[in-house]
């Protein structure tokens, strides 16, 4: 039972960006993908969510192939993505954005609603409920995007650069929320992050992506401690 990416190749137009990437995310596990700009991190999550077509290789969710499914059908199977830049529906209210998230989770609504728990913790969203999404601050938008994804009852959650454009303080808050999401939903989380240090600190395992290939993988804490990683991604000489 896990999300398995098996030697996939994908990219835009004729140029392949990912060449033979494999990885695995287990339920309840947080897995980081780090790498420099252009390594193919965003391409990876967009391919898993179905926004980009797979050219070869396979993607399975709990042993069922989703390689050829349209994004909406993957979402309905619990593979939920929070896109880079949040991508809230700008003219919908916070509440409507979250209601849109619930559409993907229809039919998988057993158990208590994880959204309520999140809203109870981050009460600011309740206050903003009727406001148009485009009027929120960047941090608030990222929270709404996360809650919207949770409303979709994810089994596997793909987070594309959740800290992008946020202040360090807000980034911290967002990482708290992500931890809470994992606790409440038990979803496996694939976290793609520029901020490698924080990502590795929060994750169980990690993959290092270089030029569209997995260069390293392993225990997040071990990777975080390795000299190579510290030099290349954590800005330590």
């Amino acid at each position: 039972m896990s999300l398995v990416v098996d030697t996939i190749e994908s990219g835009y137009d004729r140029a392949p960006i990912l060449t033979g990437v494999s990885l695995r995310v287990d339920p309840g596990e947080m897995v980081a993908v780090v790498g420099s700009n252009g390594a193919g991190k965003s391409t990876l999550v967009r391919t898993i969510s179905g926004l980009l077509a797979v050219r070869s290789g396979a993607i399975t969710v709990d042993d069922v192939a989703i390689t050829k499914l349209a994004p909406e059908r993957r979402a309905r199977r619990g593979v939920v993505m929070v896109p880079e830049g949040r991508k809230l529906f700008p003219q919908l209210t916070v509440g409507e954005n979250i209601a849109m998230g619930r559409r993907a989770g229809r039919g998988r609504t057993s158990g208590e609603d994880p959204v309520d728990a999140l809203l109870d913790t981050f009460t600011i969203l309740r206050e903003r409920w009727g406001q148009q999404a485009s009027l929120l601050s960047g941090g608030e938008q990222q929270m709404v995007a996360l809650v919207r994804a949770v409303a979709a009852r994810p089994r596997y959650l793909l987070l594309d650069e959740p800290s992008l454009g946020l202040s360090p303080l807000k980034t911290l808050e967002v990482f708290q929320l992500i931890e809470l999401v994992r606790e409440r939903t038990g979803a496996g989380i694939l976290l793609v992050e520029q901020m490698a240090d924080q990502a590795l600190a929060a994750s169980d395992r990690a993959y290092v992506l270089e030029h569209g290939k997995v260069a390293m993988e392993g225990d997040a804490a071990t990777l975080r401690a390795s000299d190579e990683i510290r030099r290349a991604y954590l800005g330590v000489a």
Partner: protein
């Protein structure tokens, strides 16, 4: 006063068709240039069942609406959608929709012949006095329907889950697909609704001018103009656009002769395109990262 009344009433017909353009535009960013033929299709579908005595007029109108709607959904799926796959700048749908227009026109002409045929379904003859102006009841019916349907559409999009999905797809189809919504289905649905509307306009218009393959063509320019003036992104747009275009073109026709009527309407379009390209009620799409 007369040009105002007549203009408002006539604007209703254009508004109804402009609403079709708006519906497909907000959901799929495409326009169906075969709209005129869907007007004819609706009219002929109703005409085909006109002799079924057991079916009340409303039922016959529904047949026209359904046929146009179903064909519209198919056209979207097979002739529009495949030509929009190359991103925002892919405008091949423009050519394919024009091709649909020619093909449908030929098909309808081959089956029904070129001559206008009388259509009595949903026909209300006679005129009614409106503030001292004689207005044809049929045109008044069309205008009233345009207003009622526009208000209904606005209500549906504001208040129902289906409307929420429509608005979401309209703002960001890709992200909507991440929410388990199929933008293609929504597009198909929008085409069905929009062409159904065109069919409805066709049935009611045919009761006045007769059903003929080319009946929708002369309405096309005015309807696009109305949609642009009001704003292709706004469901209120067609009402405002229809009113402005109708009154202005009638006023110019009364003052300077009919050849100035259409010209004045099109000048209005150019003015709007210059000063507010998104239309009077349209919203400029902002991308905030």
């Amino acid at each position: 006063m007369e040009p105002v009344i007549i203009g408002l009433v006539l604007g209703g017909l254009y508004a109804l068709l402009a609403q079709s353009f708006v519906l497909t535009f907000i959901t799929t960013r495409t326009l169906n240039f075969a709209l005129g033929e869907f007007v004819a299709l609706g009219a002929f579908a109703t005409l085909a069942v006109a002799s079924w005595g057991w079916l009340p007029d409303v039922g016959k109108v529904v047949v026209g609406v359904l046929v146009a709607g179903v064909v519209g959904a198919f056209v979207h799926r097979f002739l529009i959608l495949p030509f929009t796959t190359q991103g925002e700048h892919d405008v091949r749908w423009l050519l394919s929709s024009v091709a649909v227009s020619f093909v449908l026109l030929d098909l309808i002409t081959n089956v029904e012949g070129p001559s206008p045929q009388r259509s009595d379904t949903a026909r209300v003859s006679g005129t009614v006095d409106l503030f001292g102006t004689g207005v044809s009841k049929q045109q008044l019916l069309l205008a009233t329907l345009a207003v009622v349907i526009s208000l209904l559409l606005i209500l549906v999009t504001k208040r129902t889950p289906m409307g929420l999905v429509m608005r979401a797809v309209s703002q960001d189809p890709e992200t909507a697909s991440l929410m388990g919504v199929s933008p293609r289905r929504v597009g198909m649905g929008a085409y069905a609704a929009a062409m159904g509307l065109a069919g409805l306009a066709g049935v009611l218009y045919a009761a006045t001018v007769g059903a003929s393959p080319v009946m929708g063509e002369p309405l096309l320019v005015a309807s696009i103009a109305v949609a642009i003036v009001g704003g292709l992104g706004s469901l209120w747009g067609p009402l405002l656009g229809g009113a402005l275009y109708g009154v202005l073109s009638q006023f110019a026709s009364y003052q300077w002769g009919t050849i100035w009527g259409e010209t004045a309407g099109l000048l209005l379009v150019i003015a709007v395109l210059v000063w507010k390209p998104e239309g009077l009620l349209g919203r400029r799409t902002e991308v905030k990262l």
